[in-house]
C-alpha cells in the first residue's frame, strides 16, 4: 500500500492530461477530471495517513532506486496531514470553481498540475526533487494567476514569474552548494554528512543562506513578498483561494524540512545568526504585513497582506527552534490554509452580493447573505485567534514556545499581530453587520430589503442563494424573474450554493480543528521528537 504516496503525485499529473485530451469532446471533462483527481487524492492521502498513524513514519524509494542515490519519498505525521489538506482544499476549490469559474479545461489542467507539485513538495525526502516540485508548483501557479485574463493579472503573473524564478534559482543554487560539499541530495543523508563537513564550512553556510532566502521568497516573507499581493489580488477567486491555501504553505513546509531535517537543531545551535536573522525577518514580516493589511481597502489585497503576516508568524514559530513553537507553526500552517482559503472564497462570494470587494462595499452585506457572512465572520475571528478555533491553538503554541525559548520579542510580536489582525478584520465585520448598505447595489424599484420583510425572510432562509428578485441587478439580470428562486439558475448577485458550502465548511473546519488541536499536536509530536531529541 505504500505506493499510495507516489500516486499522490502521479494521479493528478495523469489526470491533468485528461482535459487536454478529451476537452474538445466534452466541455466538462476538466471539472470531472479535477473532481476525480481530488477524490482519488483524498483516498490516497487517507491511506497514507492511516499507514502513518498505524505504523509511523515510512519511506518509499521511487523506482526501487535505494537512497541516497535514488529519490526517496517520506511520509510522517506532518506530510500526511498536509497531503490530506491538499486533497480537501483541491476538492473544495474544484467544487467552488464550477460556479465561480474560471470553469475551463485549461484551468483544471493547471490546477491538477499544481496539486501534483504541492503534493510532491509535501512528500519528497530529496532536496533536488524538492526543487523540481517547487518549480512545478511555481510554473503552474504563474499560469493560473494569468487565467484572470486581465492585463493586471498578466502583469502580476509576470512579476510572480520573475521573482519566483529567482527564488527557486537561489534555492537550486543552495542545493548545488550542499551537493558540492557533501555529495548527496537525500535529506536524511545530508543531515548525517553536513556535520562531517563542518557547520562553519563556507559552502554549507552559503548553501543554507541561499536555500532559506529562496524559500522565503516563495513563502512571501517581507520584504520578499512583493509578488504576492498582486498575484493574489489579480487572480480569479478560486485560484486565489487555492494558492493562498497551499503555495506559500508548501514553501513554508519546505523551509521547515530544510531547517530541521537537513540542517538539524545542532546547526542552529552552532550558527546562532541563522535563526536570529530568520526570527527578525519573520517578526518584521508579521508587523509590517499586518500594518499593510490594515491599510488596504481592497479585501483581497488585505487578505494577501494578512498572509504575509501569518507566514511571518509561522516562520517565527519555526525559527524559535523548540518543539512547542514548531508545533505551533505547523498547526498554524494547516489552520491558516483552511481559514485563508475560506476567507478568499467568502470574499469572492460576498463580492457578488455586495457589488464590489472593497471594505466599504461590504457595508450591510450580512443582511443579504447571512449564512456566508456568518461563516466569514467566524473565519475572521478564527484567524484573529479567538478560542476555540484553530488560529488560537497555533498562536498559543507559538507564544508559549517563544516564551520557553526566551524569545520575548516573538511573543510580543505574536500578541501585537493578534491585535492588528483584529483591527483589520473588525473593520470588515463591523461594516458587514453594523452598517447599512450605502445604496442598493441595484438601485432597483423594489425598495430596500428592510421594507420588504417577506423577501427578507426568504433571503434569510436560503442565505441569498436563490435569486429572490431583491438582489437582482437589473442591468445584468433583467431576464431573471423572481420565479427562478430554486437556485438552479446562475445568479451573479447571490452567493452560490457551492461557495456557501465551501465557506461554511471552512468555518466549521477551523473550529473543529481547533477543538481537536491536541490530537493534531500528538500527530506532529513523533516527527518533532526526532528533531528535538
Amino acid at each position: 500500500m505504500t505506493d499510495a504516496i507516489a500516486l499522490l503525485v502521479v494521479v493528478p499529473i495523469v489526470l491533468a492530461l485528461a482535459p487536454i485530451a478529451f476537452g474538445r469532446l466534452w466541455d466538462r471533462t476538466g471539472w470531472l477530471a479535477a473532481l476525480l483527481a481530488g477524490l482519488a487524492h483524498l483516498g490516497l492521502a487517507l491511506v497514507v495517513a492511516a499507514t502513518v498513524f498505524s505504523t509511523g513514519r515510512f519511506t518509499y524509494a521511487v523506482g526501487n532506486y535505494r537512497p541516497p542515490f535514488g529519490i526517496e519519498l517520506v511520509a510522517d505525521g506532518v506530510s500526511a496531514t498536509l497531503a490530506l489538506l491538499v486533497s480537501i482544499v483541491t476538492l473544495a476549490v474544484v467544487v467552488y470553481a464550477r460556479r465561480a469559474g474560471p470553469d475551463t479545461n485549461e484551468f483544471y489542467s493547471g490546477l491538477l498540475i499544481l496539486t501534483a507539485g504541492i503534493s510532491g513538495v509535501f512528500v519528497t525526502g530529496d532536496l533536488f526533487n524538492l526543487y523540481v516540485f517547487i518549480e512545478i508548483t511555481g510554473l503552474a501557479t504563474y499560469a493560473l494567476v494569468a487565467t484572470g485574463r486581465s492585463p493586471a493579472a498578466a502583469l502580476s503573473s509576470l512579476k510572480y514569474l520573475l521573482v519566483g524564478t529567482i527564488g527557486a534559482s537561489l534555492y537550486l543554487l543552495g542545493v548545488g552548494y550542499l551537493y558540492i560539499s557533501t555529495g548527496t541530495l537525500n535529506m536524511a543523508d545530508l543531515a548525517a554528512t553536513i556535520p562531517e563537513v563542518g557547520y562553519d564550512s563556507p559552502l554549507i553556510l552559503t548553501g543554507f543562506g541561499l536555500i532559506v532566502v529562496g524559500l522565503a521568497v516563495k513563502a512571501a516573507l517581507f520584504p520578499l513578498h512583493t509578488w504576492q499581493p498582486d498575484a493574489y489580488a489579480d487572480s480569479p477567486d478560486s485560484v486565489t483561494a487555492y494558492i493562498s491555501a497551499l503555495v506559500s504553505t508548501a514553501a513554508a513546509y519546505a523551509l521547515f524540512r530544510v531547517i530541521y531535517a537537513v540542517f538539524t537543531p545542532a546547526f542552529d545551535a552552532a550558527t546562532p545568526f541563522a535563526l536570529d536573522a530568520l526570527v527578525i525577518l519573520a517578526s518584521v514580516s508579521v508587523v509590517v504585513g499586518s500594518v499593510l493589511a490594515v491599510l488596504q481597502s481592497d479585501l483581497k489585497r488585505m487578505l494577501a497582506y494578512s498572509s504575509v503576516a501569518q507566514f511571518g508568524l509561522i516562520v517565527a514559530g519555526f525559527a524559535v527552534a523548540n518543539a512547542t513553537a514548531v508545533t505551533g507553526g505547523l498547526i498554524h500552517l494547516v489552520g491558516h490554509a483552511i481559514m485563508k482559503a475560506g476567507l478568499f472564497v467568502g470574499v469572492g462570494a460576498l463580492a457578488g452580493v455586495a457589488g464590489g470587494r472593497t471594505v466599504d462595499d461590504f457595508a450591510g452585506v450580512a443582511d443579504r447573505a447571512p449564512v456566508t457572512s456568518a461563516a466569514f465572520a467566524i473565519l475572521a475571528f478564527a484567524l484573529v485567534g479567538v478560542p476555540p478555533a484553530v488560529g488560537f491553538a497555533g498562536k498559543w503554541h507559538i507564544v508559549l514556545g517563544a516564551v520557553e525559548g526566551g524569545r520575548w520579542g516573538v511573543a510580543v510580536v505574536a500578541v501585537v499581530s493578534t491585535l492588528l489582525t483584529l483591527a483589520y478584520f473588525a473593520r470588515v465585520v463591523e461594516r458587514m453587520y453594523f452598517r447599512d448598505a450605502a445604496a442598493e447595489p441595484a438601485g432597483d424599484a423594489d425598495g430596500p430589503p428592510v421594507d420588504a420583510p417577506a423577501t427578507d425572510g426568504a433571503l434569510a432562509s436560503d442565505g441569498g442563494s436563490g435569486g429572490s428578485g431583491v438582489d437582482v441587478d437589473p442591468d445584468d439580470d433583467a431576464s431573471v424573474t423572481p420565479e427562478d428562486g430554486d437556485g438552479s439558475a446562475p445568479d451573479a448577485s447571490a452567493v452560490s450554493i457551492e461557495a456557501k458550502a465551501v465557506v461554511v465548511a471552512a468555518a466549521v473546519g477551523a473550529v473543529v480543528l481547533g477543538l481537536f488541536a491536541t490530537d493534531l499536536v500528538s500527530v506532529f509530536e513523533p516527527v518533532l521528537e526526532v528533531y528535538f531529541e
Binding site: K159, L162, G209, S297, R301, R427
Partner: protein
C-alpha cells in the same frame, strides 16, 4: 517611691539626682484611660450641655488631669497596638508629668475664664478638644502617637480660631497651612526615624535619628515653636479670635513644640540653641514695636519660647530643667497676660494701646494681675520668670556660650521695656477719653488671681517647682547676689530704655516682619507654579485631544491617515500609490531579493 528619684532616673542617666527640699506625693491613679480621652470626651458632650454644667465639667476634667498628672507615679504607662505598631498612649515621666500638670491647671483656669468671658459652648468645646489633643501629645510614649495627636492639635486649634469668624478665618487658613506643613515634615522625620530604628517608641532610641530626620524634625517642630522665619503665623493668628480662645492658643501649641523638641534632641543642639536666642531677641524687638496688645503678647510668646528653645538646645541638665521651668512659668504668666488683655479688650472693645490709658483705676484687679504677670515675664526678682530665665542664662553662661548668654540678657531688657510700655499705655497713662466700664467679673478674677498667686509663689519659693522638673536643679541657685543684681540691673535698664525710647517708639509702626518677604514670595511663587501647572496641563490636554482626534480620524479612515506620511516618506505623489499598496515594481522586487540575500550571506559568513 519618691517621684524625684523616678523622675531623675528616667529623665537622664547622666544627671545626678537632685535633692529638692520638696517632694511631691504620689498616689494610685486610674490608668485604664489616657487623660487626654477624658478631656476629649468632655469636649464632645459640651455643646449639648448647659453653659454652666459644660464649663464646670471642663474645669473638672482639666483640673483632674493636673491632679492626675501630679499624683501619677513616674513610669505609669499604657502600651497598646496602634495602626499595627507598638504604641504607648500615655507614659508618665518627669517631662510629661510637668507638661500634664501645667496643661491641666491652665486648662482649668482658661475654661473658668472662658465661662466668665461669655465664650459660647462650641468655642469652649473646640478649646477643650485642643487641650485634650495637646495633653495626648505630651503624654504620648512614642512618636506615632505623638504625631497623631500633634496633627489633631493643629486641626482643633484651627477650628478654635475659625470659630470666631471674620478676620480669624483668613488667619486660621494661614495657621492651618503652616501647621499642615510642619506636621507633615515631622511625620516624614518620624517615618524616616522608624525605618532606621525599627520602633516608634521613645525608649527605643535617644532622640530622633541624626541626619535628615533630625533636620526634618527640627524644621517641623520649628513651625510649632516659631523659629525665626517660620513664626509669622503666630502674631497673625493669636490676636484674631475670641479673647478666651487666645488664652488657650497662647499656651498649648508652642509649648507642645518645646516638649517635642526636647524629645527629639534630648542632648541639645547648638544650632537650636542659637536659634532659640535669635527667637528671644527678634521676638522682643518686634514686640516692642507693636501697638495691638495681643499682637505684642504674641511676639512675646516667640521671644519667651526662644528662651526655652535655647535651654533645650544647650542641653545640659540645668538648661533642660530651666527650659521646662520656663515652660511652666511662661504658661502661667502668658495665660495671665492674655487674660488681662482679654479683660481690657472685652471692657473697652479696643485692641490698640495708644487709644487706651488710665485703666489702673477702673480695672484694679486686672491691673494687679497684669503687674504680677509683667514682672514675671520680665524676670523681676521675686517672680517666677526670674527663676526659670535665670536657670537658662546661667546654663548658657556655664557652658561658655557667651553669645547666647548676652543675647538672652538683651532680650530680657527688651522684655522689661515692652511691658513697661504695655503697662504705661494701658493702665498708667492719663486717658484722653474716660472709660466707663464694668469691672471684671468674678470668674475672671478668680482665674487671674489664682494664676497670679502661683506666679508669685513659685517666684518666692522655686523649690516647689524644682521638685517637678526634669533635668537637674542641683546647680540652680536663683537667689545669689549676682543673679539678683542681674535682675535688678535688667529692670533698671528697661526703665531707662523705655524712658529714652518712648517718643521714637510711638512713631515707629509695627515693623516689617519676614512675612512681608515670605508672603509675596509664596504668593508669586505659587501663582507661577499654578499658572505653570495650568499651562502645562492645558498643553497636555491639547495634545491629548489632538491625539484622540487623530486616533478617531485614523480609526475612521486608516488608509487616508497613513497614506499621507507614507507618501511623503516615499517621496512620490499620491497617484503612484494605488489603494494603499506600496507596490514595488518587478525590478524593485528583484533588488529586494538580492539585498536580503546579500545581507543573509554577509551575516552567515
Amino acid at each position: 517611691m519618691s517621684l524625684s528619684l523616678a523622675a531623675s532616673a528616667i529623665a537622664s542617666a547622666t544627671v545626678l539626682a537632685s535633692e529638692p527640699s520638696v517632694s511631691i506625693p504620689t498616689a494610685d491613679v486610674p490608668t485604664a484611660i489616657p487623660p487626654a480621652f477624658v478631656v476629649l470626651a468632655v469636649a464632645l458632650v459640651l455643646p449639648v450641655l448647659s453653659r454652666k454644667l459644660g464649663h464646670a465639667l471642663g474645669v473638672l476634667a482639666t483640673g483632674g488631669v493636673a491632679v492626675w498628672a501630679l499624683l501619677a507615679p513616674a513610669g505609669t504607662y499604657l502600651p497598646v497596638t496602634f495602626l499595627g505598631f507598638d504604641a504607648v498612649l500615655f507614659h508618665v515621666d518627669a517631662f510629661s508629668k510637668l507638661m500634664g500638670v501645667i496643661f491641666g491647671f491652665i486648662g482649668a483656669a482658661a475654661v473658668l475664664y472662658s465661662y466668665s468671658s461669655e465664650a459660647r459652648n462650641r468655642q469652649t468645646a473646640f478649646a477643650l478638644g485642643y487641650v485634650g489633643t495637646s495633653i495626648g501629645a505630651v503624654f504620648a510614649g512614642d512618636w506615632l502617637t505623638m504625631v497623631f495627636f500633634w496633627e489633631l492639635m493643629a486641626v482643633t486649634s484651627t477650628l478654635l480660631v475659625w470659630d470666631y469668624g471674620g478676620e480669624a478665618v483668613r488667619a486660621g487658613f494661614r495657621y492651618a497651612i503652616y501647621h499642615g506643613l510642619g506636621g507633615s515634615l515631622l511625620m516624614a522625620a518620624v517615618v524616616w526615624h522608624y525605618t532606621s530604628v525599627g520602633s516608634f517608641l521613645f525608649s527605643a532610641s535617644d532622640g530622633i535619628v541624626a541626619g535628615v530626620p533630625a533636620v526634618l524634625a527640627a524644621v517641623g517642630i520649628g513651625v510649632n515653636v516659631g523659629f525665626v522665619g517660620l513664626h509669622t503665623w503666630l502674631p497673625d493668628t493669636y490676636p484674631r479670635p475670641h479673647v478666651a480662645a487666645s488664652v488657650f492658643l497662647s499656651v498649648y501649641t508652642t509649648k507642645t513644640g518645646v516638649y517635642g523638641l526636647a524629645r527629639a534632641f534630648p542632648d541639645g543642639n547648638l544650632a537650636i540653641a542659637y536659634m532659640g536666642s535669635a527667637m528671644a531677641l527678634v521676638g522682643v524687638v518686634y514686640a516692642l514695636l507693636q501697638d495691638d496688645m495681643r499682637r505684642l503678647l504674641s511676639y512675646h510668646i516667640q521671644s519667651q519660647v526662644g528662651y526655652m528653645v535655647a535651654g533645650v538646645g544647650v542641653g545640659t541638665a540645668l538648661a533642660t530643667a530651666g527650659a521646662f521651668a520656663h515652660v511652666f512659668n511662661h504658661i502661667l504668666y502668658k495665660a495671665l497676660l492674655f487674660m488681662t488683655a482679654g479683660v481690657v479688650i472685652a471692657r473697652t472693645s479696643e485692641n490698640r494701646l495708644k487709644y487706651l490709658g488710665g485703666l489702673g483705676r477702673t480695672l484694679p484687679v486686672t491691673a494687679l494681675a497684669f503687674t504680677v504677670a509683667a514682672l514675671s515675664i520680665s524676670g523681676f526678682p521675686g517672680f517666677n520668670g526670674f527663676v526659670s530665665k535665670g536657670m537658662i542664662t546661667a546654663a548658657a553662661h556655664k557652658e561658655h556660650l557667651d553669645g547666647i548668654f548676652y543675647i538672652l540678657l538683651a532680650a530680657g531688657v527688651g522684655t522689661f521695656m515692652s511691658f513697661i510700655k504695655f503697662g504705661y499705655y494701658a493702665f498708667l497713662k492719663e486717658s484722653k477719653g474716660s472709660w466707663n466700664v464694668r469691672r471684671s467679673v468674678t470668674g475672671q478674677r478668680v482665674a487671674m488671681l489664682s494664676v497670679a498667686a502661683l506666679c508669685v509663689a513659685l517666684g518666692l519659693y522655686p523649690d516647689a517647682l524644682f521638685a517637678l522638673l526634669p533635668g537637674s536643679t542641683a546647680d540652680a541657685h536663683p537667689f545669689t547676689l549676682s543673679h539678683l543684681g542681674e535682675g535688678f540691673l535688667l529692670a533698671a535698664l528697661g526703665v531707662a530704655g523705655f524712658a529714652a525710647l518712648k517718643k521714637p517708639l510711638s512713631k515707629v509702626g509695627p515693623g516689617v516682619d519676614v512675612d512681608r518677604v515670605i508672603e509675596p514670595l509664596t504668593f508669586y511663587g505659587m501663582r507661577g507654579l499654578v499658572r505653570g501647572v495650568t499651562e502645562l496641563f492645558a498643553a497636555v490636554d491639547r495634545m491629548a485631544v489632538g491625539a484622540a482626534n487623530a486616533a478617531i480620524d485614523a480609526a475612521g479612515d486608516p488608509y487616508g491617515t497613513i497614506r499621507g506620511p507614507l507618501g511623503s516618506l516615499v517621496g512620490s505623489d499620491d497617484d503612484r500609490l494605488r489603494d494603499g499598496s506600496l507596490r514595488a515594481g518587478i525590478a524593485t522586487s528583484v533588488l529586494l531579493v538580492v539585498a536580503v540575500l546579500a545581507a543573509t550571506l554577509l551575516g552567515l559568513l
